[in-house]
């Protein structure tokens, strides 16, 4: 319960009143020995007016605050979601739960008000087959597979089987318990979440996020913001010829550290076992190995070079053909993964984050999460 007048305010008020009384007292009795009672009174009134004016100047700015203290319109603490727990698949899981609660017990094909949104309805169906150009405005819980023709428009969809979305289609959100296949030019407005694998055709726009328990295969010129998969790969999944990282099971926290203020270069085939921290750039040349983490401005991992720790860059990160970073990649600039380059390793999910753009070339593979605040695109030369 807020106390309207605090002890401090009471004290300040008391001091103000006391000061006013002292001023009046001095004005009345000490201002001018030869002055008559009327002049003394005038002096006292003038002094009091000055004190009152000063007090007004001091207290007037506090008036709205005093009202706020009394009414307490904005007195609550900043809200922290105490139950928040990071989960790349939060949207999909939450949606499944909500739509199931509404529709699971509803009769088949019956329209039900959905998620308290005005004019939005949902329905449960055994399976769904849509022809070319169909426009489906209800949210759907499909007990089986979903297959659509071309240029279909869907809103929210939860399929408990496999899903195949035709070329040129648009959908708002999709959760699927089976495999998902998006043909070319599919546009997602919000998100997709799959319990198994997701295959994305060329020229797709993946909206806010795509998450999958299994692999995510991306075609050419796919635009994205956030993708989570095991792994996320452009084109067909590759066998990681380098095999699992020797320390893939450990948290990369090196106690050995090398600091520098100039560019650090790890030579061809050279191997170092330390963290590298510099105020300049870092380049690991072809076949070089860094058993530790890297912090620098721009970081370049050369062809077939491997970094077994994390890479944190104040600028860009470039991983050239066949290069690998086994830990996390965080860049305040952009990230470019060239052909057959890898981030993370099988069974060890990591995060590739860029404050700007991410470009993934053919065969680029990320085990875990790809996040970019700018534009994410794939550049593949593989068919489909």
């Amino acid at each position: 319960m807020l106390k309207p007048i605090s002890p401090v305010l009471r004290t300040v008020t008391l001091f103000a009143v006391a000061a006013a009384l002292v001023v009046v007292f001095f004005a009345l009795f000490y201002s001018n020995g030869s002055a008559g009672p009327e002049q003394r009174l005038d002096t006292a009134i003038a002094a009091l007016a000055i004190v009152a004016g000063f007090a007004a100047l001091v207290f007037l700015p506090m008036l709205p605050g005093l009202l706020e203290l009394r009414r307490s319109a904005d007195a609550t603490s900043l809200t922290i979601d105490q139950n928040y727990s990071r989960d790349p698949r939060y949207m999909g899981k939450s949606f499944r739960e909500k739509i199931s609660n509404v529709l699971q017990s509803a009769p088949m094909h019956t329209r039900m008000p959905f998620l308290n949104r005005s004019k939005e309805y949902g329905r449960i169906v055994p399976s769904l087959n849509l022809d070319d150009g169909e426009n489906w405005t209800d949210a759907v819980l499909s007990k089986g597979a979903v297959t659509t023709g071309k240029r279909v428009h869907l809103v929210d969809l939860y399929a408990q089987g496999d899903v195949r979305i035709g070329a040129g289609s648009t959908l708002r959100a999709l959760a699927a318990d089976g495999d998902v296949q998006l043909e070319s030019n599919v546009s997602v407005i919000r998100w997709i979440d799959g319990e198994k694998d997701v295959r994305v055709g060329p020229n797709a726009n993946l909206g806010h996020s795509l998450s999958a328990v299994g692999a995510v295969e991306l075609g050419n010129n796919v635009r994205f913001s956030r993708i989570c998969g095991n792994p996320v790969v452009v084109g067909q999944p590759r066998v990681d010829r380098r095999g699992p990282a020797p320390d893939a099971g450990s948290w990369p926290l090196g106690n050995k550290r090398k600091t520098a203020t100039t560019t650090v270069t790890i030579g061809r085939g050279e191997s170092v076992e330390t963290d590298l921290v510099t105020r300049s750039n870092v380049e690991v040349l072809e076949g070089g190995v860094v058993k530790g983490s890297i912090k620098g401005d721009d970081v370049i991992v050369g062809p077939n070079a491997v970094v077994y720790g994390n890479v944190v860059a104040r600028g860009d990160v470039m991983v050239r053909d066949g290069g690998a970073i086994r830990g996390h990649v965080f860049a305040e600039g952009s990230v470019f993964l060239s052909r057959d380059s890898v981030v993370g390793s099988a069974g060890r999910s990591k995060t590739l984050y860029s404050s700007r753009n991410v470009e993934l070339a053919d065969g680029a593979t990320v085990f875990g999460w790809v996040i970019c605040e700018g534009d994410g695109t794939t550049v593949s030369t593989s068919p489909g």
């Binding site: 009202l67 603490s77 105490q82 090196g254 983490s293």
Partner: protein
Amino acid sequence: MVVTILTIWVIFVIAVMLLYTTRHFIFTFSRLFHRQRVSFGDAYEDNLPHLTVLVPMHNEELVAADCLRAIVASDYPADKLHVVPINDHSNDRTQEILDRYAERDPRIRPLNLSGRPTRGKSNALNFALENVQSEIVLVFDADYTPGKGLLRRLVMAFIDPEVGAVMGRVVPRNTNVSLLTRLLSMERSGGYQVDQQARYNLDLLPQYGGTVGGFRLALLRQIGGFDPHGLSEDTELTASIYERGWTVLYDNRAECYEEVPDNWMSRFNQLRRWSRGHNRVMWGHLLRIAFARNLSGVQRADAAFLLFCYVVPPLLISGWVAEFLLFGMGHLRPIGGLLLAFMVVLYNSFGNFAPVYEVATAEILDGHSTRLYLLPFLFYSFPFNSWTITTGFIDNVGDSIMSRVAHWEKTGRAGTRA
């Protein structure tokens, strides 16, 4: 001669105040217009390291249970989490509460410092750290209630090989209790939402605050632990980290509730202790950090600002006194440089507009509305803060002259829940 000395002193005070004012404006503008640097909260890792959470406690019966409940409710992998509440000479029911929770949850392993000679957070942490095995250690005060995902988020900061310590944002949960708690809530907003984040944005020196954050154990061992006579182990660690070429990462989204003092005497004791401890660290580290080779010129300047901040209020008060003396001696002419100086000191006397501006910006960024009406009250809490900090400064000077050992003044708790 006296007039010359006083004049030079006033000019010096003016210069210092102008520098701090400029710094506050730069921070505010950085927060408003600069690109915000990211932390590592977006990183997801399914193979987290072992983690030890230390919670020093002295007479914390009102808050201990809530704090432990919040920590063990974390989503951090159960087999990798070790919680060590440290009963630091409590004479209330704290030990009983710790024992009860330890029985319920094997991850909680309390330490009891009863029988050991010295009390205080630094000692408690040093003692607990002797037996810690994990690479990462987080520290919370007993009145803190971390959310489910907070431990994971803080630990992720250490994927950066340059990060020696991490600090989250402190959010008062008892904001609506009194005018003081509301003012403290605003001060916290300014300090974290704007000040700390701006320092992080500008690659300056964000501070490890010791209450919702953590550090690498190997680094702390390299430093030699905390100063057993220190009252500001957080500032001490911050300075040591930067001297050795590491950094502190500030994560503005790693928010945690705390309980701020709800009466002026508690606040007086808390702020006085901070000032006393901070100034002890300043004397010990000012030269070392000012000449640290791995810091840039701007970073060294920021380090000086940081270490010097609890000297500014006594300096300002001395400036007021010098001004009045000059006025009394008839050397403060109506027109001239000193009058300008007087105006600047006056500007910085009632509330210091720059920090108030910083607080207003923070409140707007936090989406608050009518609480901004309370801003003028900061003009009146500022003299209180100045006097309290000056008292702590005098304590510290006394400690240095008389080789006194400072004792830890505990901040009172009310046990408020969010």
